[in-house]
């Protein structure tokens, strides 16, 4: 399951690279100009006339073009329309035989065994070279270390090993025949022939990913192949179009290390033209044409941000210089000659073609997004277009058609711009149409007021379908307003699902992401009385809103409900998130943050420790010992003081205890650490801990297998001591994704409760953290403890956890979790609490502390100042 998730993440990244093809090369004029391989643009209903896209409610109907399912590793991308047919690129990953995975596993083990100093723990061995019982199956898949700040992200930088290892366990695909070699040619997978990854690649070279250009007819709903690129290796087709002679014109990007010479880049671009039979007509390199002299540049200096074929027969390519984000857009003929270049002294946010084939760009001018045409003849940028909302930082331009000069979209709505009247009009709201707006990749009118649209859902899955205006249900639905500071795709999906299922209520989603100061804008709305019914509290100071009586106490709802009640949640979750014993928001999934050290070293500290105890412990270590990972004075100060404000502030009495010896000692302690952390690349993390050069490590648990990693990091001698605090409760529960609360002013409380319930009970395909629901928690436990493959209740095949995990020099084999590990996490959840973090107080204290750290003020002065300022703050708000 996890491997498929990773695969889809990678697919989404690849898809993002294949930027949406414009409609420029879609339809054609009835008469083409002689010698012009590419005719003017046209949508399915051609260039002129009203394409009938009026403002209203649209519904999204998914189409059945080669969509990937749970067990098929297919992606479709790079769409364009021509003559009522939709062309697209189709990718399917290779279907390796089982012996491939055996060979891969053996290779992985050989590599681990060969590096004695790396701290890599070989399968079945601990640090004393003693065999450890394991029962993993061998599929050779890998898993990323979760990013503690962004647990949703899988950091591609953390991937180790050959990328093919990620997909080596893909399930056989039933729908499509793959390019399989004759079995008689396959060597016996004894492993003796496979010494390196190159040998592996050579042995299975006949297994290829399928790449094809296909087309789909909207009327007949038939799919047919146009071109097969399976045999074309190391090539990325960034853009293409098909002209009226049915010639395929492509922009190909190729990377070949052998092409590098004299330090020049190995990244090359070509215009390739094939005839209707697939034979090459021309193959022209245009790398130097795109950006000019690149003799002093490398691949890291620039990147191509956008490219498209215009109806005028030109290829437009924009590239960005990394050093200053300046952009240049080149206009290139299909014979490879440059025909103009416009340089923009700002970052070009988006580029597209209008209904007359002119290039329009959106770029920043003094923090304001402005839109202009490009004039390649004069090589200048035209005047700013009027009538466009330049303050909206999330608007993308999309190609124009018919009487619509071009489209614009942001995360909430789709707009059309009329260049003659200089008016921007909203056509539809994404959420009302059942589409996640910030995942929209491609949009094209296909006549009769319909739009072909593709978007990515919150799991990175691509959805394709048609948007068409709906008649409406007839009855007006009651509106429930949901707000979040920042756009939340996962929440949008839940809103779409609720709106589809509910005939009485409709949710409107409001975010403040595009405001200059989103938190302040949200607060101003609250004061003005514009209070939503539901708030996503993940980005607000929830305690402040609770104190102001804005958030509803959900405890009575939990007590009355049959489904989502106190028994619904894993033990400890509600306690950890409660404020004064009451529940104000529900958590769907979470991570656990704590600190661990060597058990043998921490045996004097039974159940946690205070700040003073940590200081004494560290001071007993030799000079130069690292306290923890990425340890700086500000990070230590944050963990000891800003995360433990309850140690210093009594909100009830207004007593502030910064003018104490304890705080002075803490400040002096923090001042021992450096301002910036310098990674010691010579000494490896595992070795540092083993030799006592680092005593603690921060821990983030988002699933049960993480425990195996940290256990190995500490050589099976680990104690989860927790962050220091006066109550010795140093494990924090960190909610992930949708954390929803109801407001006290909401009128339709029952309906809002139903929505919050649906958000909490909806099962996501992949978990970003530990599920808060008992049922899903047990499912998660079953997945992570499975030692054999099984089929779950949704018909999905679940394979046992197996892979390697780590970062930099440290790597460990992951196997299914034990019941002891599961119980350990359960116990940790029960002991956890939610971190009380006050941004205002922390900012004030950190600002003053920094003056002490820099030496500009004495300790006593700083303590006096902090005591004075915080007394005022606390007394204002007690």
């Amino acid at each position: 399951m996890l491997k498929k998730y990773l695969k889809h993440k990678f697919i989404a990244a690849v898809t993002a690279l294949c930027v949406i093809c414009t409609t420029a090369c879609g339809g054609g004029k009835e008469e083409k100009e002689a010698g012009n391989p590419i005719d003017n643009t046209g949508s399915a209903d051609n260039t002129s006339g009203n394409i009938n896209l009026e403002t209203g409610i649209y519904t999204f109907e998914e189409t059945a073009i080669h969509q990937g399912t749970e067990n098929q590793d297919i992606i479709t991308s790079n769409y364009f329309l021509k003559d009522d047919e939709l062309y697209y690129m189709y990718y399917m990953f290779p279907e390796y035989p089982e012996e491939y995975y055996d060979d891969l596993k053996k290779l992985d083990e050989m590599e681990m065994m060969s590096d004695e100093d790396s701290g890599i723990m070989p399968l079945g061995k601990d640090s004393n070279d003693t065999s450890v019982d394991t029962s993993s199956s061998d599929t050779g898949s890998k898993k990323d270390k979760p990013d503690a700040d962004n647990p949703d992200d899988v950091s591609d930088d953390e991937l180790t090993g050959d990328l093919d290892d990620l997909f080596g366990d893909s399930e056989p695909d039933d729908a499509e025949a793959t390019d399989k070699p004759d079995d008689s040619k396959t060597d016996d997978a004894s492993g003796s022939d496979i010494k390196t990854y190159e040998d592996l690649e050579e042995k299975y070279k006949d297994y290829k990913a399928i790449q094809k250009l296909c087309k789909y007819n909207f009327d007949t709903k038939e799919i047919s192949d146009v071109y097969d690129f399976t045999e074309v290796e190391d090539v990325q087709i960034s853009r293409y179009c098909i002209d009226d002679d049915n010639r395929l014109v492509m922009l190909q990007e190729r990377y070949d290390e052998n092409m590098k010479k004299d330090g020049a880049s190995a990244f090359k671009c070509f215009i390739v033209i094939k005839d209707a039979e697939g034979k090459d007509i021309s193959n022209t390199e245009i790398s130097d044409i795109i950006i000019g002299d690149r003799s002093n540049s490398s691949d890291e200096d620039f990147y191509i941000s956008e490219s498209m074929f215009g109806p005028d027969g030109y290829l437009y390519v924009s590239y960005v210089l990394q050093e200053n984000n300046n952009t240049a857009i080149s206009r290139i003929k299909t014979d490879g000659t440059l025909d103009g270049r416009v340089t923009v002294d700002n970052y070009v946010d988006s580029m597209s073609i209008d209904n007359n084939g002119k290039i329009v760009i959106g770029c920043y001018n003094e923090d304001k997004l402005v839109y202009s045409y490009l004039d390649f003849d004069k090589e200048t940028i035209g005047a700013e277009l009027e009538g466009l909302d330049g303050d909206n930082t999330f608007v993308n331009i999309m190609p124009g058609h018919g009487d619509i000069t071009f489209f614009l979209r942001d995360s909430t709505a789709l707009y059309k711009y009329n260049g003659e009247t200089k008016e921007m009009t909203m056509i539809l709201k994404w959420l009302d149409s059942g589409v996640i707006g910030d995942g929209v990749e491609y949009l094209m009118p296909i006549g009769d007021g319909k739009l072909f649209c593709t978007y990515n859902d919150s799991n990175g899955n691509s959805k394709t379908g048609i948007l068409m205006k709906s008649e409406g249900s007839g009855t007006e639905k009651k509106v429930i307003k949901v707000s979040s500071i920042y756009v939340n795709s996962s929440l949008q999906e839940k809103i779409i699902a609720f709106n589809k299922a509910n005939s009485e209520y409709k949710i409107e989603y409001v975010t403040y992401e595009t405001q200059e100061n989103p938190e302040t804008a949200f607060a101003n709305d609250i004061i003005a009385g514009n209070i939503p019914d539901v708030i996503d509290v993940s980005s607000i100071d929830v305690n402040n809103y609770i104190n102001k009586g804005i958030l509803e106490d959900l405890t009575p709802y939990l007590e009355k409900d049959d489904t989502v009640n106190k028994d619904f949640f894993v033990d400890g979750v509600l306690n950890a998130t409660a404020v004064d014993g009451k529940t104000y928001y529900l958590v769907k999934e979470f991570g656990l943050r704590t600190i661990a050290g060597k058990a043998s070293d921490l045996k004097d500290y039974k159940d946690g420790w205070t700040i003073q105890e940590l200081i004494e412990y560290y001071n007993s270590k030799p000079a130069g010992t690292e306290l923890s990972d990425n340890c700086t004075r500000s990070s230590v100060f944050y963990d000891l003081v800003c995360s433990n404000l309850d140690n210093y502030i009594d909100w009830k009495t207004g007593e502030v205890k910064f003018d104490t010896d304890e705080f002075r000692t803490t400040l002096e302690f923090c001042n021992k650490f450096a301002k910036e952390y310098e990674e010691d690349s010579e000494t490896q993390v595992y070795k540092k801990i083993k030799e006592g050069k680092r005593v603690l490590n921060s821990i983030y648990l988002s699933d049960f297998t993480n425990i195996q990693v940290f256990r190995q990091l500490f050589d099976n001698d680990i104690k989860y001591i927790g962050y220091p605090s006066n109550d010795k409760c140093g494990t924090y529960l960190s909610p992930i994704n949708d954390t929803l609360a109801m407001t006290t002013v909401c009128e339709n409380k029952d309906a809002v409760w139903e929505f919050i319930k649906s958000a909490v009970t909806k099962k996501d395909r992949y978990w970003s953290g530990i599920p808060a629901s008992k049922t899903y928690f047990e499912d998660f436990v079953k997945q992570q403890t499975a030692t054999e493959e099984y089929v779950d209740e949704n018909g999905e095949t679940v394979t046992p956890v197996d892979g390697t995990y780590g970062w930099n020099d440290f790597e460990v084999k992951i196997k299914p979790s034990s019941q002891e590990d599961i119980q350990f996490v359960k116990d940790l959840i029960k002991k956890s609490k939610t971190k009380i973090y006050n941004y205002d107080i922390s900012a004030m204290i950190e600002e003053e502390a920094e003056k002490y750290f820099e030496g500009s003020k004495k300790l006593d002065d700083i303590v006096k100042i902090i005591q004075d300022k915080l007394s005022k703050y606390v007394n204002e708000n007690k």
Binding site: A523, I526, I527, G529, I531, N544, K548, G549, I550, G654, T743, T744, V745, M844, K851, S856, K857, D861, I865, D868, K869, L870, K872, Y873, N875, E876, N877
Partner: protein, 292 residues
Amino acid sequence: MNTRQKKKIIEKIKSVSFLAPSGLGVLIFFVLPFFVIVYYSLLDNPVKKNFVGIDNFVNVMQNSAFQSAITNTFVFSLISVPLAVILSLLLAMLLDCKIPFKSQFRTIFLSPLVVPVASIVLVWQVIFHTHGALNSIVAEMGGNPIDWLDSKYNQLIVLSLFLWKNLGYNMILFMAGLGNIPKDLIEVARLENANRFQIFCKIKLRYLSPTIFFVTIISLINSFKIFREVYLLTGGYPYGNIYYLQHFMNNQFEKLDYPKISTAAIIMCVFMIIIIGILFIVENRFGKEVEE
């Protein structure tokens, strides 16, 4: 109704209609918001809007931060306003004499009026910062640098800022007031062997009483407005006794605590009414003779 009465009514209608736009503006931008503030001061929070009577007033009056803020504000006003009045009067009297470069001095004293607040704050920061000009001089003289704005001297700095900013305007007002004193009265006094002090106390001060009253009120209002510069210099929670009433109110705004702000504003308004009422009585007593 006779013609005269009709004329009167028409006159009244005309005057009311000419006054109406201004009156409407005052109503919308001053009177109505005042009643809105009174309304909010009687609620528990802007969301639930439950009536709580005078609980907010009791809570605010008992709040130690409010007490500290109001004390600091009035102490500052008590010191700065008399200083502003006396020093500007002395300056006006000095510039009223025949001294060279009189108009240049006048320009110098008036120039702080036209300098934007942000520039003033910047200059003060340059002077009083830990690495600022004043500390350079102190270091040259062998002393230790002080972060003036985070020290016990910060009140002096704020006071100097206030006086530097407002002396010029007050001085101009006093110069105008001095110019309106009848010269013949002073001549008669001199002829009757009155000395300068007697002339000043018996004649000039009495004639200046309306101006003194006006300057006092203006200075009092400006002493409250010093919050702006202090906020830019030191933020929402300054060290020591430069934490004023407006700090308290401004900080509550960010916490969405509308009832607290409204309550504090009404309490401040009541105090101001009392103070200005006292000033009116005093002015009325001393300035009666002048008016007569």
